[in-house]
Amino acid sequence: MLRHLAMTAVAATIAATGASAETLRYATARDVYGLDPHAVTDSFTNIFTHHIYEPLVRYNADLKVEPALATSWEVIEPTRVRFKLREGVKFQGGQDFGADDVQVSLMRAVDPKSPLRGNLPGLKAVEIVDDLTVDLILEGPTPLLNNYLTNIFIMDKGWLEEHNAVAPIDASQGEEGYTTNNANGTGPFKLESRRPDALNVLVNYEGWWDTPQHNLTRIEHTPIGSDATRVAALLSGEIDLIEPAPLQDADRIDGTEGVHMLQNPGLRSIMMGINMGDELVDGNVEGNPLKDLKVRQAMYHAINMDLIRDRIMRGKSRVTGSLIAPEVKGFTEAMDERLPYDPEKSKALLAEAGYPEGFAFNLNCPNDRYVNDEGICQAMAAMLAQGGFQPRLVTEPRQMHFQKVDNHQVDVFMLGWATLPMLDGFSVLSAMLATPGGEYGTFTPKGYSNPKVDELTHAVATEIDEEKRLAMMQEALMLAKADIPWLPLHQQPLSWAARDSVEIPQAADDLVRLWYAKITK
C-alpha cells in the first residue's frame, strides 16, 4: 500500500513537471561549427549562439533593430558613438555585465586574427566612459554601425581571462580554445551539453533580463544531414521543427496530419553574373559578345522566370527584377520590373548585335548551395538555347563553383545574395557592383565598372543623413540595373516544417529565433 502511494506520488510529480516542461526538438541540416561567437562567420552558427550570447542591439522578429544589451545610443561626433548599457544584466555564470565586457568582446571580434573582423568594419577602439557607458571610436562615419553590431556578441571579460581565451581562436595554430565547447552569455538560453554532430541541449536561463516571449524550458538540437531522414524524423514524431525542409517533400508534409510546412519568400536573391571582360572563358567567337548591352538584354528576354517559378520552385519563389529583396533597405517598386520574356526579341537583339547564329559560353551553377540551383540552371540553359544562345551548362559542388567565381573562370554564373548581416542595399553596391579595389567589388563581374555607381557607392558609405543616403543608394541601384552586369532571377523561398503545436515566426533572413517560439497544446 505504502509502495503504491509512493509510486502515485512519483507519477504525480512527473506529470506536474511534464505540464510545465516544454521541450522543443529541433533538427537542421548541419551542426554548428563551434560555440565561440567570434570564431565563425557562418550565419547558422551565429544564430544558434545568439540563443546563448547577445549583441548590443538585435534584430527582432520583423528584422528591425531594437535595443538589447545597450539601451540607447547617440552619435557624439561622426567618429564617436556613445552606447548606454543595460543595468542589472547578469551572465549565466553569475558575473555582472558591464562596459569592460563590451570593450573586450568588440576588440576580440575585430582582432586581426578574427574571421569576424569584416563584419564590423572601421572600429578603431572602445573607450570606457563609466561602468555602463562606452564610446565606439570609428575610422569614419558609419551609418550602418547598428546593423553591424547585431552580429557581434558580448562575452564576459573575467570568464575569458580565467580560461585564457581573450585572444580569438586561430585555426592555423594547434591549440583548442576553451570557448569552442563552452559558453557563458547573457541570452535567453544556456548551454547544458554538447555532443558535436549528435546533440546540443539548451535550457531556459531563468536570470534573463528580458521578458521571455517563448515558453520553452529546453531545446534539443540535432543535426540531421540527410534530407529524407530529417523529414522522416518529423513525420515519425521524433522532431518538432526542421530547417530546411526539402521543397519536393512539401506536399507530403502538408498532407500529413499534425505537421505543416512554413514557406515564405526569403531575403536571398538569386541572380546570374555576367562576365564583361575582354575574353570569354569558354567561347567560340573572337572577343566577348557579353560586353554588348544588347546581348545582355537578349539574354534577359530569353528567360521565362514565371515558368521556373511554377515548375521548378513549385510556385514558392518570388520572381524579381531587383538585386535586393523588398525587406532590404533601398528597395523600390521600380527596381522590381523585369524585361519581359520574349524569345523572338531575344533572337532579334542577338542578330542586331552581330550574332545571328548565337555564340557559345559557359553557364556555371552550384548544385548544392541554393534551393533547386541545378534545376534552375538546366531550365535556363534550355531557354537560352531557344533564345538563340549556345550555353554550355556546368554544374558543380559549391566549393568548386565559388573557386571559379573568385578567379573569374566563369562566363555566366549563379550567385545568391541576402545582404546579411547588414540588411541594406549598400551590401550589394559595395560587394557586387563597385569597381574592385580594397574592400569593394569582391564579387563584381569581371569588366564591369560604372564610374557614377562607384561615386555614389563611396558617398553612401559615409553619409549619415538617412534620407540622402537612401536616395543615393536607390539611384546607384537603378543605374546598375540598366547596365545588367547581374541578371536577377528570384528570391528563393524559405522552407521549414513544424509540428502543429509549434508556433514560430519565420523571419525573411531564414534564421530560426527560438526565443520567439511557443509550444501550444
Binding site: A27, R30, Y33, G34, D36, A39, T41, K113, P115, L116, G118, N119, I169, D170, A171, S172, Q173, G174, E175, E176, G177, T180, N181, R195, P196, D197, A198, L199, T222, P223, G225, S226, A228, T229, A232, A233, L235, S236, G237, E238, D368, E396, P397, R398, Q399, M400, H401, F402, Q403, D406, W417, A418, L420, S427, A431, P436, G438, E439, Y440, T442
Partner: protein, 327 residues
Amino acid sequence: MLGFLIRRIIQSIFVMLAVALIAFMMFRFMGDPVNSLVAENATVEERDAVRERLGLDQPLWVQYGRFVARAATGDFGLSWRNARPVSTLLAERFPATAELVLVAAGLSLLLGIPLGILTALRPHSFSTQTLQFFSLIGISLPTFVTGILLILVFSVWLGWLPSFGRGTVVDIGWWSTGFLTLSGLKALVLPSVMLCLFQLTLIMRLVRAEMMEVLRTDYIKFARARGLTNRSIHFRHALKNTLIPVITIFGLQLGGLIAFAIVTETVFQWPGMGALFIQAVSFGDVPVMAAYLVLVSLIFVVINTTVDLLYAVLDPRLRVDGARAAH
C-alpha cells in the same frame, strides 16, 4: 612470424604515406576551402590573409611535407571547420563507427553462416528458395535505398525504432557506448541491419557454394562410409574446410564495412567517422580528410595482417614450414 610482422609494419608505413600523398593531390580538385572559412561578404584581402595563415598559398609538396612531419609526431592539426584537434575529433567518433561495424559484422557472421549451411544441406526446400530470392534483393539493392526503406517502415509507419542518431550513450572513459541503454540498443538496429545486409547475403551465398562443393569431395564420402554421424560430417569435417575462403572474404569486406559505413552514417545521422569525413569533404576541411584517409588505410592494413595470421590457425598446412623451421 616476427619477420612477417616487421615486414608488414614497414609496408603499412609506405601505404599510409602513399595514401596521404594521393589525398593531398586530390584536395586540389576539391575547390577552395577558404570560401567556407570567411564571411560571404569578405573582401579579397581577408580571403588572402586566411589563405596565407593556413599555408594554402604554399606549393602542394610543402603542404604535404608539413602534414607528414606533424603527423609523425602524432599531431594532425586543428580542424578548420570547428577549430578542434583532429585527433580528438577522430577519437570522439571512433566508438560510434566501431560499435556499428562490430554489430553489423557480428550479424552478418551469426546469420550468414547458419543460413548458408541450411541452404546447402537442403538445396531444394522451399525455405532455401525463399532465402535465395531475398538474398538476391539484398545483394542488388543500393544500401541507401534499403536505409530509407527501413526508416519509412520501422520509424514513420510503425514508429518502433528511431530514424536517426545513437540514442542515449554512456561514457566509459573516452569511449562512448550505446550498448548500455535501451534507446542506444534500439538506435543500433536499423543502421546495423542496413550495413550488414550486403555482407550477410554475400557470406550466406559463399558458405552455401563452398559447402556444396566440399560435400561432394572424396573425404566426405569416405567419412560417410566410415559411418560417422551426419552432424559430425557436416560440422567437423565439411564446415571447417568451408571457412577458409569465408575468412578471406570477410576480412576484405570488414574494410568495406568501414567504408560503407559512410553511407549508413549519412542516412542515419550516425555520429561516426564516416559522417565526419563527409562533412569535411563538403567543407573542404583538409586536416580532417587527410587524417581520416590515413587512419582508414591503417585499419585496412591491420585487418589484412590479422586475416593472414588467422589462416595459419585454421589451415594446418600453412603452419608446416614454420613448424619445420622450429625443429
